[in-house]
């Protein structure tokens, strides 16, 4: 290991410092020189980087600059200590960092409650075409949710979970991404699929589990997945998709793709270990992933005050070394701008970004829940009417002359008709064949599964009256 002598300071002091550095592990320069790498994927631009020890991207060791750590030379204390992880200044005062700031982190918004553009607001401009598509898809999502929910109540569907109140998060975030960005949803983000072109019929097929369902009828409703639209199949377990997203980001980083991974989760999901681990990993790995938290106030019946005691989710980003922002999730324009900017940063700087989108879950957790048991219906009504994301954005696009009442009623009646037709067709479509119960467990069914399928078929043959008539054999 080379001793790098500094010409300016005294030889003894610098030698001593260098010996210290070399004997310490991570964070010291010797660690970096030990790992001079060739054949690395890429050298991202170093602008804006405050971290002098960067891994996974350098082909030569970085020259260390003592001043980059901010040497503290106040009168009382000249000492700084080179602990593993970097220099730390000492203080003789016993002072605890407060558990919370006196002021909460402010929330980025562009449109006010009435849909008027706030003066001097910073936002990414959207074209008429994109804005109208955003609004139309928000309306479509709302209608789709309502109709599917009703269908479940009528007994036509077994289960459903709405995204009512969170349409802006769903659609505006999807609009700011490209089709190559890979999505790892929780289960309340069908709008992202909708934006990318999933048809109402395809949604209905999955909900009814018929033979046109891409999931071959194996999962419960709202567990959509589409590899061609880069939307990874919903897995019901909370927050398990976060490490998966980091892995996908890692894969994109290796391939040097101009794309990022995006993952969604709720406020409840941030309590899971996977959330913390995934954020930590993403930061260490410098992975291009955007973490979007839909903080909608409720995890089934658990309010956020019982979920965590920090100032929401945005402050947790800093704990892991992740750039974060808090956004008004019901402001489509702000969501669009935030995700657009985040994506740029994530890919060009190869870093994760955390976005906390504040919103409200207007619907029940799912059709198995009646949220009036734990919250007042007044509260629900207020958010549904006064804080509705659709009406705010509608005001804005109408003020630009891009929308009208006529367009609204045309759209709504068209979508409603399409939905009802999709439902009708999906309901009538045959279910997948029984063999799909055993296929895709592995790439090829092994002998034990073939035996088990035979047993099931034998049982069905001997008791045909107990077997559902709409599942072909």
């Amino acid at each position: 290991m080379a001793l790098h002598l500094r010409s300016s300071s005294s030889l003894l002091k610098s030698t001593l410092l260098n010996i210290l550095r070399q004997n310490l592990g991570f964070g010291s320069r010797s660690h970096v020189t030990r790992h001079i790498r060739q054949n690395l994927p890429h050298d991202p631009p170093l602008r804006g980087s405050r971290n002098p020890i960067r891994r996974f991207c350098n082909t030569v060791a970085e020259p260390e600059t003592l001043s980059s750590f901010g040497q503290h030379e106040d009168a009382s204390n000249h000492q700084v200590m080179d602990f593993p992880g970097g220099k730390v200044a000492f203080t003789p005062e016993i002072r605890f960092i407060s558990e919370s700031d006196s002021d909460r982190v402010p929330c980025y918004r562009v449109l006010d409650d009435n849909g008027q553009l706030i003066t001097n607001s910073q936002f990414v401009q959207v074209s008429e075409e994109v804005a109208v598509k955003i609004y139309s898809d928000m309306v479509t999502l709302q209608i789709m949710d309502n109709i599917f929910y009703e269908a479940q109540r009528q007994g036509r569907l077994s289960f459903y979970a709405t995204a009512i109140g969170e349409e802006a998060i769903n659609i505006a975030s999807a609009a700011a991404l490209t089709p190559q960005d890979v999505i790892f949803p929780q289960y309340r983000e069908p709008g992202v699929l909708l934006w990318r072109g999933f048809t109402l019929q395809e949604f209905a097929n999955q909900c009814f589990g018929n033979k046109s369902d891409y999931g071959k009828g194996r999962q419960m409703p709202v567990h959509y997945g589409s590899n061609k639209l880069n939307y990874f199949t919903v897995s019901a377990t909370i927050a398990t998709q976060l490490p998966n997203a980091v892995g996908a980001a890692y894969s994109l980083k290796m391939d040097r793709k101009d794309a990022c991974a995006v993952t969604y989760f709720g406020d409840g999901g941030t309590s899971e270990g996977d959330f913390h681990a995934a954020l930590n990993f993403a930061a260490v790995m410098e992975a291009p992933v955007i973490f979007i938290c839909r903080n909608n106030g409720w995890a089934i019946s658990t309010p956020t005050s019982d979920q965590f005691r920090s100032d929401g989710v945005v402050v947790k980003g800093r704990a892991y070394g992740i750039r974060s922002i808090r956004v008004d999730g019901n402001d489509a324009l702000a969501m669009y701008s935030a995700v657009h900017t985040a994506r740029g940063m994530a890919i060009s700087e190869q870093r994760p970004i955390l976005i906390e989108a504040l919103t409200y879950r207007v619907g029940h957790h799912s059709t198995s829940d009646d949220s009036t048991r734990y919250r007042s219906s007044d509260e629900i009504e207020w958010w549904n009417k006064a804080r509705n994301p659709l009406s705010r954005f509608r005001t804005w696009i109408e003020s630009n002359g891009w929308w009208s009442d006529e367009a609204e009623s045309d759209l709504r009646s068209r979508i409603k008709k399409e939905m009802l037709e999709a439902l009708r067709v999906a309901e009538k479509t045959e279910k997948p064949n029984l063999k799909n119960m055993f296929s895709d467990v592995y790439d090829v069914p092994p002998s034990n599964l073939m035996e088990q399928e035979l047993l099931v078929r034998q049982t069905v043959n001997s008791h045909p009256q107990d077997y559902p008539s709409d599942v072909p054999l």
Binding site: Q38, K216, L242, N244, K253, D274, A277, S439, D440, V444
Partner: protein
């Protein structure tokens, strides 16, 4: 060592429901099972009996006994029919060789785990790989098994082929959620849209005074998970072969290594080969009794076999290697020949591999048994630290000899 060239076409998989009856037992190659791992590519596949290659397909009888329980030096068994000299290495080096070859061959193969990069892995299986392939492709992760297993799964769904290392198999209990709910399921629940070709590997089993938490036998906990395959290696030869096969498989595969077997030395072929993931290995053909075992217990069994032969018995020893699914073809043929079965495992009595294997044999080969299936396992206790106690939680050769004598009365 010449090997059999297999052009896997996946044919025969659909019809073989009772493969044991319909296939000529003299043929080394079995179509129905190999379709799982040998797809439309050409491989050099080593059949189960690694010792009888070449023109002779007849299972050999006059096998020299393995003199030591744990092979310290290269013995005659592995290289007796080699035409080429091969090269000698330790088991962990064989794993590393297999891994390196696959990483050379396919740029999508990557490694992730704790201390696998610059440190080279706690058991040196990934030594030198980070220097060669870069520290992004051989990735050091923070300590969260669930997270890096989840990462591997996400990366696999996006086209990579990660090899995920658990520093000790026991730590993968923390990754159970990702393995069970995502790894095993997502190919199925996505309707086949996403594949998860990961390899999850690591050392497990009872070591030398590693303590209860580091002596777990994860194969018994994982065996129920649908969608995954499990294999256990036991020699440098099958370690390299199984590692390569696991990486090439489209299914998620869990490769169980054993802490005490990493320094086994053997001579392995110079030319490329892989082992069939679903195949068991015939270690010692015999007539009187079938002894089924895997991983470290193979060596205890072989040591007991030495004693047994001196006492006049002729045990047939099979290293089952494939823990999920079981190679009921090889096992069934053996049972039909010997009519007596002894299972020797390291898992605990309750709910281990032995328990499932006992059930499978009883169900499928009941008519061929002259005696109840006997299973020797570890006791249902956490592994004690004290060396003397630890030794007695693991099945010893003396117990195996007694069990065989009992069964063969």
């Amino acid at each position: 060592m010449s090997a059999i060239l297999l052009q896997g076409a996946g044919a025969g998989a659909a019809t073989a429901l009772s493969p044991f009856n319909s296939i000529d037992p003299n043929k080394l190659v079995v179509p129905s099972r190999s379709s799982l791992s040998v797809r439309s590519k050409r491989y050099i596949v080593a059949g189960s009996d690694s010792k009888s290659f070449g023109s002779s397909l007849i299972v050999r009888r006059s096998e020299p006994l393995i003199p030591n329980a744990v092979a310290a030096k290269a013995d005659t068994a592995a290289s007796s029919t080699s035409s080429k000299p091969g090269h000698e290495l330790l088991l962990f080096e064989a794993l590393q060789e297999g891994l390196e070859e696959e990483m050379d061959r396919d740029p999508h193969v990557c490694v992730m785990g704790e201390d696998v990069g610059h440190y080279g892995g706690s058991y040196k299986v990934t030594k030198g790989l980070a220097d060669k392939f870069g520290d992004l492709r051989v990735l050091d992760t923070p300590i969260c098994e669930n997270a890096f297993t989840g990462m591997g799964i996400g990366a696999a769904m996006t086209g990579l082929r990660p090899v995920i290392e658990g520093m000790n198999m026991g730590f993968l209990l923390l990754a159970f959620n990702q393995i069970s709910n995502n790894c095993g399921m997502l190919h199925y629940t996505s309707g086949g849209q996403f594949t998860i070709p990961v390899v999850i590997r690591g050392p497990g089993g009872v070591g030398r005074q590693l303590g209860a938490e580091h002596s777990q036998r994860l194969e018994s906990y994982f065996q129920s998970i649908p969608g995954i395959q499990m294999v256990a290696c036991s020699t440098p030869y099958n370690a390299k072969g199984l590692m390569k096969a696991a990486i090439r498989s489209e299914n998620p595969v869990i490769l169980f290594e054993h802490v005490l077997l990493y320094n086994l030395k053997e001579s392995i072929p110079d030319e490329e080969y892989i082992c069939n993931l679903e195949e068991a290995e015939m270690v010692r053909p015999g007539e009187h009794i079938t002894i089924l075992t895997y991983s470290r217990m193979r060596y205890h069994v072989m040591q007991a076999a030495k004693t047994l032969v001196n006492k006049g018995y002729d045990p047939e020893v099979i290293d089952i290697r494939s823990l999920k699914p079981f190679d009921l073809y090889t096992i069934g043929n053996s049972v039909k020949k010997t009519h007596r079965v002894l299972i020797v495992e390291e898992c605990m009595r309750t709910g281990g591999i032995g328990a499932s294997l006992t059930a499978a044999i009883n169900e499928n080969f009941h008519d061929y048994l002259d005696a109840p299936v006997m299973c020797l396992s570890s006791q249902d206790v956490p592994t004690p630290y004290a060396g003397t106690l630890e030794e007695w939680t693991v099945v010893q050769p003396a117990q195996i000899v007694t069990a065989v004598e009992q069964l063969c009365q």
